[in-house]
Structures are given as structure tokens and as C-alpha cells.
Symmetry: C2
């Protein structure tokens, strides 16, 4: 069967090996693994992660939790502050049949959650988000104790954990290596947990770790859980971070060469509505060249994207024999796989030869609320 392009191919052997390897890390370090499903948004892959030993999953959106709960994943951490009644009520609805853990980073959000739990006569588990350098949501470590105290004074909330997303290696200059970043992340959070316990808050869960930092963060005493996401597929960004090799990238985008209008240019049928245009922050080598690279031909880069066109410029000394021709199919490893998957409604599992074996629905794609 010829698949219509562009489409997402996932090498099932590599996918399973990526899942196995992270599960093994979690076992070796006696750290719970709660993968973030933002990368795949696919129920079947979440089930593979659970079967390999994950304790539950992480999502960013209540609607993602709704999709995953409906697919039978019952232990879900919504790692995002919910501050509107509508979202809190939907998350509480899910609590009826599932274990849902809430995220808090403000008194306002905590009060709203508390009031909703009181109305229902419920208690819920929550974790405090800590900002360890990403400068987005989360309170700075120095303000955590005060917020924890405020939450303890509210009914209906068991504040049992703290969590952070440290990101890869961003230290303002993009120069910190991923191992140092992970150790730093783990130690900051483990230290903060001690401090909060000393202040009377019973912190049980210390949850950290992204794909590049999980390996070292998991080794820090006091860290209880890691939440990597991208590792299931990997991408060029993770290769640049040193978190994997290009051979560990399980997902590629299958495209067709539709035009070779001049001697040095090849146009494929995937552009910015097929590949993510996310730029990688930081200095080289983190600023990746191109928007993706052709599997097996690392010198062929997706140089320019418009919405439905991907342009590959050939080197001047490229051999004409190696130039792809109209109708040829190429597999391209994207820069950022999470936002690329988010552009598609389905993916194909393929065998080692690239032969499709099963179509999976990216059921939580578009679950923006």
C-alpha cells in the first residue's frame, strides 16, 4: 500500500526501544516515570508507556486528560494551572472515576479549586509548580513556602508534591550541558522539598525531568518522579542536546518530491502546515540549520518552508545521480517532534523497512482547552 503524503511514520522498533530505555532508567533509579503525552497525544502509545511501567501520565490540558481517561488511562497529572471554574469542574468530573492530580502556582487558583471541592464535598491531590529557570508558570523557589502555607489553610486540597519543568540546558546563554542542568534541577527541587517539610508541608512527590535532563535528575536523592515526553519519538532538537542519536528518532515525516524546477532545488509536499517552524533557542549548535533532515541523507536539509512547500537546496557539488526526482518519497526527521505531531490527525506505525503496519489516531490532537 502506498500512503498518501505527507504523513507521519513511526518506526515501531525504535519507539518501543525508546520507551523501554526510559522505563529502565526509572527502574534503576527507583524513580516513578510519569511521561508527558504532549509529544504523541495518542492513546495507544500512552498504553505502551503504561505497560512498560509508567505510574501514570502527564498532560497539559483538561481536554487531553478527558481523551486519555476515556481511553482507559486512569492516573493523570494535569501539569498546568487551572484558574477557571469551567476547567476545574471538568477536571473534577474526571476525578469521579480517575486519579487526577492538580497543579497550582497561585493563591487565586488554589482558592478557586478549594471552593469547587467544597461544593462537591471532595478532596483532591495537588502539586505546587516551581520555576527553576524557564520563566513561565511556577513560583520561584523562594516564594514556595508562603504559597504552600496559604494552600494548607484551604479546605479540600492535599498539597502532596512539587514539580518543575526545567527545560533542557537553557541558562540564558544556552551553554549549560544537559547533565549539569538535570542535576541542578533535581537538587534545587529536592532541597526545596526538605525546606517545605521542615515548614510543615508534607511533600511526598518531587517531580522533575524533561527528556534531556531526566537521566541525571533521576539520580538525585529526594527526586521521586520524572516526566519526560519527547523521548518516545526524539527529534533533531534532542540530538542537538545530546539526549539521543539521529538513529533514535522514531518519527519521520514521509513526503513526496513534487517539483525540481531548477537544477539545485527540490520541492516536497510538506511545509509549515506539516512541519513545526519552532526555532530552537540558544546559540549554535542549538540553533539548528534547516527545518528537518532527510533520513539517510543528513546533508539534505529542509531549507525553507512556506505553508505547503518544503524546499531543499542541493549543494553545488552534489552529484546529479543523488538528486531526488519527481515522485520520489523522502523521510524527514523534524526539528521539534511535539509541535509537528500536533499538526496531524493520525500516524502510521511502520516496520524497519518503512512498511506501514497500523494506523493510529492522534486522538488528543487539537485538544487545546
Amino acid at each position: 500500500m502506498e500512503l498518501a503524503t505527507p504523513c507521519l511514520l513511526v518506526d515501531e522498533t525504535k519507539l518501543k526501544e525508546n520507551i523501554r530505555r526510559m522505563a529502565e532508567l526509572s527502574q534503576k533509579t527507583r524513580t516513578a516515570l510519569r511521561p508527558h503525552v504532549k509529544t504523541h497525544k495518542t492513546a495507544e502509545i500512552a498504553h505502551m508507556q503504561m505497560a512498560a511501567g509508567a505510574v501514570g501520565i502527564t498532560v497539559a490540558k483538561v481536554s487531553e486528560a478527558e481523551v486519555m481517561a476515556a481511553a482507559g488511562i486512569g492516573d493523570i497529572f494535569v501539569a498546568y494551572p487551572l484558574v477557571t471554574e469551567e476547567k476545574i469542574e471538568r477536571a473534577l468530573d474526571l476525578c469521579e472515576r480517575n486519579c487526577i492530580v492538580f497543579a497550582l502556582d497561585s493563591v487565586e487558583g488554589a482558592r478557586m479549586l478549594s471552593q469547587a471541592t467544597i461544593r462537591r464535598g471532595k478532596r483532591v491531590e495537588a502539586r505546587l509548580e516551581i520555576d527553576t529557570g524557564m520563566r513561565r508558570t511556577g513560583v520561584p523557589p523562594a516564594q514556595a513556602a508562603r504559597l504552600a502555607q496559604a494552600i494548607r489553610d484551604l479546605a479540600g486540597i492535599d498539597l502532596r508534591g512539587i514539580f518543575t519543568f526545567r527545560g533542557a540546558m537553557i541558562d540564558g546563554k544556552g551553554t549549560l550541558d544537559r547533565r549539569t542542568a538535570g542535576l541542578d534541577e533535581g537538587r534545587t527541587m529536592a532541597g526545596l522539598a526538605e525546606q517545605l517539610r521542615a515548614g510543615g508541608t508534607d511533600i511526598v512527590e518531587v517531580s522533575v525531568g524533561s527528556t534531556p535532563t531526566a537521566e541525571s535528575a533521576a539520580t538525585v536523592t529526594g527526586v521521586t518522579e520524572v516526566r519526560p515526553g519527547t523521548y518516545v519519538f526524539n527529534d533533531r532538537m534532542q540530538v542537538a542536546y545530546g539526549a539521543c542519536s539521529i538513529d533514535d528518532c522514531a518519527l519521520s515525516v514521509l513526503v513526496t518530491v513534487v517539483s525540481t524546477p531548477s537544477s539545485g532545488r527540490i520541492v516536497v509536499d510538506g511545509g509549515s502546515k506539516t512541519f513545526s517552524t519552532d526555532a530552537v533557542p540558544g546559540s549554535p549548535p542549538l540553533c539548528l540549520r534547516g527545518h528537518g533532515e532527510v533520513l539517510g541523507s543528513p546533508d539534505l536539509l529542509l531549507d525553507r518552508l512556506s505553508e505547503e512547500h518544503g524546499v531543499i537546496e542541493l549543494a553545488k557539488d552534489a552529484s546529479p545521480a543523488k538528486k531526488p526526482r519527481i515522485g520520489d518519497r523522502l523521510r524527514i526527521i523534524p526539528n521539534h517532534v511535539c509541535t509537528t505531531v500536533n499538526l496531524h490527525s493520525r500516524l502510521w506505525l511502520v516496520d524497519a523497512l518503512g512498511k506501514p503496519t497500523r494506523e493510529l489516531s492522534i486522538a488528543a490532537r487539537g485538544m487545546v482547552t
Copy 2:
């Protein structure tokens, strides 16, 4: 009713005015209007464009044509080279009940189309794509005559037109103004059509024009059709091009402030899975600052995006009274509306006060093949 955020809001009055204004241009210049539906991917909005006088629509993908044809839009130009049997067969299936116009930019593609039409005992209408500076698909003007001749020698294809997408104002430095770009585009194409006619190819349709260039390109004698897309909604990129004002932007993304973790930072619940991260090519002012701006507060920019977080940094001298608070809802005008819409499955038509009146399905979203 409170809408769950993030979500797309379309001011129906502005939408209709944008549609009316472009239709009026088409009438005044006696140029056919065949809008590209890539921007909205929404059947109801295509019908509004048809009702205002469009002769048909333009799409980039056969799957988009399938959605629009099923919704009752019967005259569709697939402005993209189809070079695989599977796609050509699907497009020919659509020809049974609709008027489908094909795009060609290679002998290989033309031969494949010809063979498929012979098998079906059909004739189809086609247009030749010309590269007038975008350096993606399309043959350079100097090679058009030879390709036109080759196509005339093939059975089953009526080569009746030429088309181009010139893009906005890119002249390698990003300095060409949109009026000059449009005139240049129109004249190049009208001149080429004359030349092809002199060579014996009966070119009837000369199709040009994007949102920024349509206005001037439509005035060029010999141009018969314009195909703008973005004008229905407009965006910050079109404002930067001078093609509209910020008040003409019909689409905004409604977001909720979820966190204000430090005095100068506001985090909203939309990131790179909600807003497009497309960079605008060229020099300033085309390199837009930020990923979007808050409607009514042009000094509030979406400074940084991660997947589900949008970060707004406040100016140091910003008045605390004007600082958005947790739970506040903001409407953000995106940089590039086409790729932003592509991230969502539905949009809301709203009245002038922002009150939702009707939910529309973005039915052709995800139609990547």
C-alpha cells in the same frame, strides 16, 4: 456563555467587510476572484466568499478540495502540482461532479495526468505554474514556452492558463513595496501569456495575486484572476506589509491569564500549539516583534511561546492597574493567521462586543494530503 480558552474568535462584521472589499476590487477591475481557502479552511466562509461574487475557490490539497466539494463548492483550482497516481485519481474522481482545474509545473506531472485522463476518457483543464520570485514550485518564465509545448503534445489536457504566487514584497532584501510587487507580478504574467499565445498556446486565464499584491496586480491589463487568501481574516504580517490596518484583523485568539508569577510577567494559556511560530522573512519592520499582540493593548506582546504557555513581559514602567490579572481574558491578534487557524478544529463567529453567535467547524484542517 463563557467559551473555554484558548479558542479562535472571528468578528463577523470585520470578516464580511474584508470579503466585501476584495469582491469590490474584483468587480471594479473586472478580474475574477478565486480566493485561496487555505486561510480559513471553513466551508461556511467559502460560501460567504462565493455569495459575494467569487467565481470559485483555490486549494493546495486534494483533500481540501474533497471537503469543499462535499460542502457544495463546485469550482475548485488545486493550485499545487499533483505527481502521484493516487492524488491525480482522487482529483479526477472530483471531476465527475465538479469543475476541477489542475496545476502543472513539470513534464513528468503532465504525462502522469495525461495518462490518467486517457484511461478515463476524460479531458481536464490545467494551468502552468510560473515562478515569479518565490523560488519554490513553478517554472521560470523563460522555460514556460517549452513546457507549454510539451503539454500541448499530450492528450487529455487543455492548457488554458498560467498562474503564480509572487508573495508579498520579497525581493531578496524584503524592501519592495506591495504595490510595486503586484504590478511587477501582473506585468510579468500578462507579458508571458502574450508570448505563449504567440507561440500557439491558447492562454485564457492569467491568475496572480496574494493579499498584499492583489490590489495592484488586478489593475494590470491581461490579468484575468486574483487568488488572495489571508484577506478574509488579516493578521499582523499583513499589517506590516501595509495591506490592512490592525482594525481589519477579524480573527483573534481568546486566551486566559493563568499565572502572574512575578511582577512583570503574565502567562496565558496559549503557546506554540495555539499560535503559529512562523517567522516573517525579511528585514524590519517585516520581522515582527513578538508572536502576537493583545487587541486594544498594542504594547502587550506575546513575547515568548513554549508549547502551552504564552509569556507576556510587561514594560518596567507599566502601570500596575493595567496589568492583567489571573482569570482575565485577552484577545490576541496572531502574526500569521493561516498557520494559526491550522492548529484549531473550530472557530467562533462573534459580534462587535465579542459575544459568540455561531460555532463553525474548520472542516479542512488537517487535510494534509
